[in-house]
Amino acid sequence: MKLPPRIHDWLAQRFDIGVAEKFADDQLHKPLPQATGFWHTFGSLSLFLFVNQVVTGILLMIYYRPTTNTAFESVRFIMTKAHFGWLIRGLHAWGATLMILCVLIHMMRTFFMGAYKKPRELTWVLGVFILGCTVTFGFTGYLLPWNQLSYWATTVGTEITGAIPLVGNYIQLLLRGGEGVTGETLARFYVLHVVVLPWVLTMLIATHLFLMRVQGLATMERVGEEKPIDKKHAVPFFPEHVLKEGVVFCVLIGVLVTLIMLWPVELGEKADPFVTPEGIKPEWYFLSTYQLLKYFPKTLGLFVSMIPPLLLLFWPFLDRSRERHPKKRPIAVTVGIVAVVLAVAFGVVGHLSETNVRIVGVRYHFDIYGVPHRLPPTDEAAPNPGTVGAKSRTASER
């Protein structure tokens, strides 16, 4: 890739652009290991979705007003009056969901291919922080429409932080800006969502990418026995891998638009601090933690739910074997599969809990612990607690 001669000459008379040209050329034609395939594109997809979040977020900020009297109305304005507002909000909301999904798949690929091992432990740790930051983005952004679901999901979510021993109440007060979820909370979440987190995530991603480019992609060879990449059989970053990424980007855009069209993001009812709707549930990526917390008292539940993220963070320092190939790492792979299965299972149970579901013609009520109870055919009313509060949909039912 060359600059037009006149621009090149103009720049060359003022800067030593040979250094920049060599750097760009090295990066563009960097040889990648032979095993680099489509699974390796999920990191770039996450980055693409982050850019999507930034661009659509800036567009949403033009009409959004972060006060309790105007937040809901301004989102309704975006959805109904602003040209293509429904599309911009759809891209932002579904983009957030897909971004978390892509980061999770990217982490699973890294885990099962043993790419977190020496010397890439720090890249993995930064990746865990990127996941945490992405999820925090979701949590803070969820409140901003100021509707019933977002209000009560935030009330429950911030209430959980109060269970942290010693400092929980202080953290809760700092997060909420007062005792309850109010306009102060909305302003704080807005600042976190549009100013603090974007910068933090940008720096985390930049460092993550820098380390990835400096150390290169991991091969499947044992730790300490990696051979230099054979340039004859390597996959050039450009054009081979970039082409693969282009294909996946096109598929992703198709998926994103399909989701927006088939399951448009709704707004629901405006937040009412005096009426809790029934069956309030968090977004899908918090469902497994939400369900787990039901089985334990608050403080113990918080402690138990902290174990998986801490394990994730310190895993490269716990798994000291030199093997990378999944077939030669039975314990690590089993732990990984069990963790994924448990997360999905708890998530599904969390989704089904406190709902009535018809399975093969028979109606069941899933209680708060996810235990199904068969309902008689004539019994149309669900068991309690369905008699209290206004009817509402779950967060995951868009």
Partner: protein
């Protein structure tokens, strides 16, 4: 004092500079932290709030009223009116009245409270704090917590 324990001028200056930097950092961070700390504090409120006329409030029914900005549930029992904080002690949802069970119920995680505010089912760890309620000239008045 032995020679080994004497502090050299260089290490003394190191300590002073490090201390100065720490003091500078604390001086910078402390106002920022105190700025983000919630500034408003509500003092105790003494204002009672009406929950409506007793004559319009049938037995075994309940109402949610706002007292000092907090939801309070008022229940009309055969023994009289009872009022409790309507914020569930589990995760902060606003409780409601279940007319079939004749209990206070939380819509979030299936917690139930009896007419004394004690948890009888589900995950709530503590009773709902009770608030005073009186009937004055036929009007149900709820006292602040």
């Amino acid at each position: 004092m032995s020679d080994e324990k004497r502090i050299s001028r260089r290490s003394f200056l190191d300590w002073v500079l490090t201390g100065g930097l720490v003091a500078w950092a604390v001086g910078f961070v402390a106002p920022v932290l105190s700025y983000v700390w919630p500034a408003q504090r509500r003092g105790p409120s003494t204002q009672t709030v009406s929950a409506g006329q007793a004559a319009d409030f049938p037995e075994w029914q309940a109402k949610i009223v706002a007292v000092s900005g907090h939801p309070v549930i008022v229940v009309h029992t055969p023994q009289g009116f009872r009022a409790f904080s309507a914020i569930c002690t589990h995760l902060g949802c606003v409780v409601g009245w279940d007319p079939q069970r004749r209990e206070i119920a939380c819509p979030c995680h299936g917690g139930f409270f009896d007419l004394d505010g004690r948890p009888v089912a589900g995950p709530p760890p503590r009773p709902l704090p009770e608030q005073g309620v009186v009937v004055i000239n036929g009007e149900v008045m709820v006292k602040p917590a």
